[in-house]
Symmetry: C2
Subunit: 101 residues, 2 copies
Amino acid sequence: MANGKVINTITDYMNDDTRVSPAERERINFEVALIGKKIEARERKGLSQRALAEISGVKQPAIARLESLNATPQIDTLFKVLHPLGYTIEIVPLREKPSGV
Amino acid sequence: MANGKVINTITDYMNDDTRVSPAERERINFEVALIGKKIEARERKGLSQRALAEISGVKQPAIARLESLNATPQIDTLFKVLHPLGYTIEIVPLREKPSGV
DNA sequence: GAGGATGATAACATATTCGTTATCGAAGGC
DNA sequence: GCCTTCGATAACGAATATGTTATCATCCTC
């Protein structure tokens, strides 16, 4: 192992600063949360990936890649799929992290 | 002219459904507003593009392209530049459009 | 079990972003 | 005037997202 630490879980890996920098970790957490909200929105509407593909203009494989976190979408792509779901993207001030976490 | 309409201003162009579809128009307005907020955030911090490039890891030409609307950034790039400015990106419900506009 | 719909994924071509390096004109301080 | 810093932009390669088409296993219904 690169630094001698035992890695048993993804959480171990993520919390290892020698493998994933704090900035990188924040970015990953951000993306996971963001895409998670996107998936929820689609499912709340009862839409399949194929149905959303038709009304958004973004193809089904692209939507699948996006939801499986195998790609980092461009903001216009994310907007295109969110808009028919009744959502948009906004820039908001960072909230302070809860002290215990 | 393609449809015989006289185009004198950018607004004319943008409001011409035969040239810019309503969906496309909304996407453009969205990006303009989003990037506008990003530029404001940087300037409120008193940071130059070069200074922001250093602390964000995104190079100055990329930041300039982004701010001049000559590129559609990926969400991780946008996040990287917003984070040192004290902002993040969120998915929010669409607001209804004011009826008079 | 046959059939339909689902999400995931492969393969390939195309389009676009981003890094890198360098330069430009404009604006401001000295 | 000289120098610095600013944002914008050009050129090019590398990396990556997206479109396109097709297929897969799974789940569900009939």
